[in-house]
Symmetry: C2
Subunit: 437 residues, 2 copies
């Protein structure tokens, strides 16, 4: 690799490469053609010139955070229909509003979500929603990386299911590798309740044929899990295994209501899990047994879920809450230590999305998806232990700069790829108009 | 009241007065001699002139948040000894370090804590620690309001217990009303385990004689609660009632391990509770039954606990986590709705500290302890529902300005009462030196 001329240098920072690497003090990262070409001590770096240099004293460079499960455009519904049951939330507010959604609404809602994520140091996210081409356009505009699935919800309507699957496959074919390769497409069947056995089998067939992964909700609601058991004498996971749906290309969001047999099936099939502690708590759906899943060898990433059930897109918050929720659940403060949590939000998230060769750690050859965290903050002082401060004391607003594919999306908290104020105003108007329709 | 000349006007903001009052749009707050002299619509305000005007379009004025339980100087230990048991945390790290603490360390640790709280919109806090005069000096410097208790820990040493009680009473006498009346003093016996029955009786006697309240930890650790039951055949609360310790001047932190009889005793005695969800979760001490306590009629405020067990002093975070933890605990998303949580962090917190006549809501005649929240943030867009956005989407960094007694402590996120950088550097050095002693 030629070190003489690079595109961007980040220098004099502390570096947390993650994966299994140690902290580097007085570090330097060089970026060329969107990839990391050097990461290490300043003193060991070869001579090089750069178009752009970020002098980063007092800052930490770490992999961008990976949000493994969200419905981005639901930012438009943030704060609506609070403190009610999941059933009322869906039936009385969310589903009626979603029926009124137009493509342009989804675009602006997704752009608002991108804005919030860039501000919070999230560089890649997995989304499942309607009008997903609009989400892809928002991602392209914002400069983020994303793993997008066009949602497939049959809900008893066979024709609708077929049509949505066709659309989803069409979306995947068109948008795979879109936005300079920053977009990966998956298929997004909603759940084993809202899609029939036949449709799920078709989704599996398409996924295997076209080499697309699958993003689905599994075992989120206890009530629905009980319904399926009543109907089929099988757990949700057992049912999905029986119809040969589960493979190692499946990203399963939630996985709260699992027994030992279910966990063994997920292990055997290599299914990946996206854990969403905040939304699970807020909707009172129960506590996923994340310690057991990880101990069993399952890859677990972390997600925010949509802003309508979280209600923010802050992975620092999700890291802290994931950690303390598992400690509470197992009545053991040693469960899920800070470093493990940071891995869930980075390299394990990358694994969950099948992108571990490209992102999730700071290594030569990987995509330059990097955030700079400003360590000179009252809430991060003193700095005894970096892992602990990042998981238990940091928030999204401590992120100073966000870089994806070597491109600076935010610097000194100012977003570069679009006008923040315009996006907020537009989103506010869109959300209000939606309620009036 | 004379409206002609006031000290400070906050205008064109949205106002959330709380207590039982409704939201005011296009509002104005006038402040004279540290108190609120007008709160209402701009159009209804009498003519007045002011020394200082905060034009606050797009901002929300609400009561400053009240942190009902912390050990402020423990900011120095932030991030040390993470992810270990409470026993190891205390025995191997916290207590050995506390044995080395000097008054000047506590001053700088407390000032760092004040800095973080001002940044997060906390205007009043209840503290219990050692070298409490130093905390009082930090509070005076920072401009905050505080309810301070000099900790009394006997730990089997009768003479030490007597000495600490004497010191605590001395502190209370000297600092009651200190810093222009912003400081209230309480007595702070640590727990029913670390103080003997005799010492607790003396504390009660002193408290009643001198009209001081009491700040104590109750039912935090399940293990200790079981020990006391084994030893005395009484629950911790029953024991404290038996020795006539419990009165309506007691602020009880935690109250996790209570049964119905315990709750009935707290109701009968009018004991106030400080709930600390983040620290309870992080140390895996269990989940307090806050819904039941509130339903029973107990006044429950909200606290962060010390930064060594939280690890941040952000009441917005504590509000969100309190809400979603109770929903999870009762498997019911309707439990503790956003408005109730906001009350816990404001007017109920004031009640818990016995200051409800002075602070906790924005009303004419109350102290002007006010924060301005910047609503023009991605995470607070769209604004469908103010209560929900504040509890579920806002963080401390959305606070733009912090005002106590009518004095601006922070404006546009810049702290006015001391040099932020100096305090952080000083705290960092102090914390590092402490480890080397």
């Amino acid at each position: 690799m030629n070190f003489d001329q690079v595109d961007l240098i980040i220098r004099d920072c502390t570096i947390l490469p993650l994966a299994n690497m140690e902290i580097i003090n007085d570090g330097l990262i060089a970026i060329k053609d969107g990839k990391i070409s050097y990461v290490g001590k300043v003193v060991n770096a070869p001579e090089m010139t750069a178009e752009n240099v970020l002098e980063s004293q007092g800052k930490l460079a770490m992999p961008g955070l990976i949000n493994c499960h969200t419905h981005l455009a639901m930012t438009l519904f943030r704060g609506l229909a609070e403190d009610i049951t999941l059933e009322r939330w869906l039936n009385e507010t969310i589903w009626p509003l979603e029926a009124k959604l137009k493509p342009q609404d989804v675009y602006i809602g997704a752009l608002l979500g991108c804005l919030e994520m860039i501000k919070n140091g999230i560089t890649c996210f997995a989304d499942m929603y309607f009008f997903e081409p609009e989400v892809a356009e928002a991602v392209k505009k914002a400069g983020l990386r994303a793993v997008l699935a066009s949602a497939i919800i049959e809900a008893g309507d066979f024709e609708k299911g077929r049509k949505m699957l066709k659309e989803a496959v069409g979306f995947a074919k068109r948008y795979q590798g879109y936005a300079d390769g920053r977009i990966t497409a998956l298929l997004g069947p909603h759940t084993a309740f809202t899609c029939s056995e036949e449709l799920l089998a078709r989704v599996r067939e398409e996924a295997s044929k076209t080499d697309l992964g699958i993003h689905i909700h599994i075992a989120e609601s206890k009530e629905m899990a009980m319904n399926i058991r009543k109907e089929r004498q099988l757990s949700e996971v057992e049912f999905l295994e029986k119809i040969s749906f589960l493979e190692d290309d499946v990203l399963a969001a939630h996985c709260i209501h699992l027994d030992e047999k279910d966990i063994a099936i997920l292990v055997k099939k290599g299914v990946k899990v996206a854990h969403n502690p905040v939304a699970n708590m807020k909707l009172a759906q129960g506590i996923a047994k994340i310690k057991e899943l990880i101990d069993a060898g399952i890859t677990v990433g972390l997600g925010t879920d949509g802003a309508a059930s979280n209600n923010s897109l802050d992975m620092f918050e999700s890291m802290k809450i994931a950690a303390i929720l598992q400690k509470t659940n197992y009545k053991d403060p040693t469960v899920l230590p800070a470093r493990k949590i940071l891995e869930m939000a980075t390299i394990k998230g990358a694994e969950a999305l099948g992108l571990e060769d490209q992102i999730g750690s700071l290594e030569v050859g990987k995509k330059a998806d990097i955030i700079l965290v400003d360590l000179s903050k009252p809430n991060l002082t003193p700095l005894h232990e970096l892992y602990a401060n990042l998981v238990y004391s940091a928030h999204g607003y401590d992120v100073d700069s966000t870089i994806v594919d070597g491109k600076i999306l935010m610097e000194n908290r100012e977003v570069k790829t679009f006008n923040e104020k315009e996006v907020m105003e537009h989103a506010q108007n869109t959300a209000f108009n939606l309620l009036k329709r």
